[in-house]
Symmetry: C2
Subunit: 284 residues, 2 copies
């Protein structure tokens, strides 16, 4: 079996770091001449999948923009997820789910279960209930060739109070930040694979000061990093090596509005252009 980490490594090597967000929000649906409806969101997603196939390796549908249309929106999302996987794209469902026990199993079944109508290759998870509450889901994902990206340091400033807070179960002189604790816990699922990329990743915003969150290179080594904050949110493709340094080769750079806002006719060309910019930044 090929692990999720191996698939990500191959996609990054072939296409470079770009991950294309699939965010059918109202402004974009209007700009693309599509209905603000489940039908419109589905059509939008399918067009982005068509444009991304062969030009980028990874797509990231934003679940909230489908969930807002209820079950009809989910039916549209199911079509988008299936089309993306059939096109050979790696699909990260951006759902930010997080719960405990059998409830967490429900979310894992939904997004990572083989044959689930919402099956993706990986899902984003939120660790407010403690990174250990995700342990079973993460271990199971690794075993079944799936992946996950756990929120560590998000790209928004409002995240600072929670994500840079000091965990109090260590010595006062050696306290981890919450984001660091999350990343270390996540990293524990990736050991035993020296030099390769693990299947369990973290979300680290491109524009955050990693040091303030305790996210040193050593903490992140071997862990795939899903990095929002590129494009419309401020970071430039050319900054990727400087921003991520030693761990830059494991970064998945997510862009949404900066690609999607060019409109349906130009989106394929825009994806090619952005993918090339990242490859150039990494010297590829």
């Amino acid at each position: 079996m090929t692990t999720f980490g191996q698939r990500v490594r191959a996609a990054l090597d072939e296409f470079g770091p770009l991950c294309v967000g699939i965010d059918p929000h109202t402004t974009l649906l209007d700009a693309w001449g599509l209905d603000v409806s489940a039908q419109g969101a589905g059509e939008f997603g399918l067009r982005v999948v068509d444009a991304a196939a062969g030009r980028a390796g990874i797509v990231k549908p934003q679940v909230a923009f489908f969930e807002r249309f209820g079950s009809a929106g989910y039916a549209a999302l199911e079509r988008v997820l299936a089309a993306a996987r059939a096109a050979g794209l790696i699909v990260i469902a951006d759902a930010k789910r997080g719960d405990i026990d059998t409830t967490m199993d429900g979310y894992a079944d939904a997004w990572l279960g083989a044959g689930s109508p919402l099956e993706a290759d990986a899902v984003t998870l939120s660790p407010y209930l403690g990174p250990d509450s995700l342990h079973k889901t993460l271990a199971s994902a690794v075993r079944s060739g799936k992946g996950a990206f756990v929120l560590a340091a998000t790209s928004n400033r409002e995240g600072l109070p929670v994500q840079t807070a000091e965990v109090v179960d260590g010595a006062a002189s050696d306290r981890e930040r919450v984001a660091e604790r999350v990343a270390r816990d996540v990293g524990s699922h990736n050991i035993g694979l020296p030099g390769s990329l693990g299947s369990i990743g973290v979300v680290v915003g491109a524009t955050v000061d990693r040091a303030a969150y305790g996210l040193s290179d050593i903490v992140l080594a071997g862990t795939p990093i899903l990095a929002p904050g590129f494009g419309a949110q401020g970071a430039q493709a050319g900054d990727l090596p400087k921003l991520f340094g030693y761990v830059a080769s494991g970064v998945i750079a997510s862009e949404s509005r900066s690609i999607l806002a060019v409109g349906a006719d130009r989106v394929a060309a825009r994806i090619s252009e952005r993918a090339a910019a990242y490859r150039e930044a990494l010297g590829g």
Copy 2:
């Protein structure tokens, strides 16, 4: 307009603190003789709604147990939500959503939007991206007669590292815990209503040591408290006054398995029995 907080107050006064969880997990579907499918989950939910109506004031469907069946599961959940609201029950969708900007708006539209197929009276939210990232959603909920419950101190021990971490933007001698920061931020939406219950609540597990999370009575005053941890998870109805003291009158005590495991035939009687136990504990 009646606020959500006023509706909760009225429900607590009439029926007492009991909130009936609607958790169609596999074990319970089997025990009730229902298919492990969207259809089975929907039927389960409708039966719990029938049993709860007139016996308890509040129900809490667990979204994960419907989401695992994809769009068909969501269609079933839509029927359960509509039936519960039509029966006059206050419906808290236990979704634990949390995101930023327009993405967060998508979740708010889904669960709190008037006329949304998934419309509930309130939704649970997760603050890992910072309590301030939820500000717009919470303010909008208050204005439209809706509510929300933000995770502060959850009932699982794995939550301790994140939820008791010390926020570092204050003086070192006066640092808040993450859960306290969340509760204070939430509480800021409830001011100006002395003596009454606000519309934005927090989740505080019944079995947690509130002091370790900085959740004093003064921090929680006026804020509705959704408290899991009763029933199968260990806390007893009779302990409610002791556990929550000064703020006990704002507690919504959530029970799921301890009620649902008795089977379809006995669930109505069990709800009556549990509701009476809480009322008795509060001396009502």
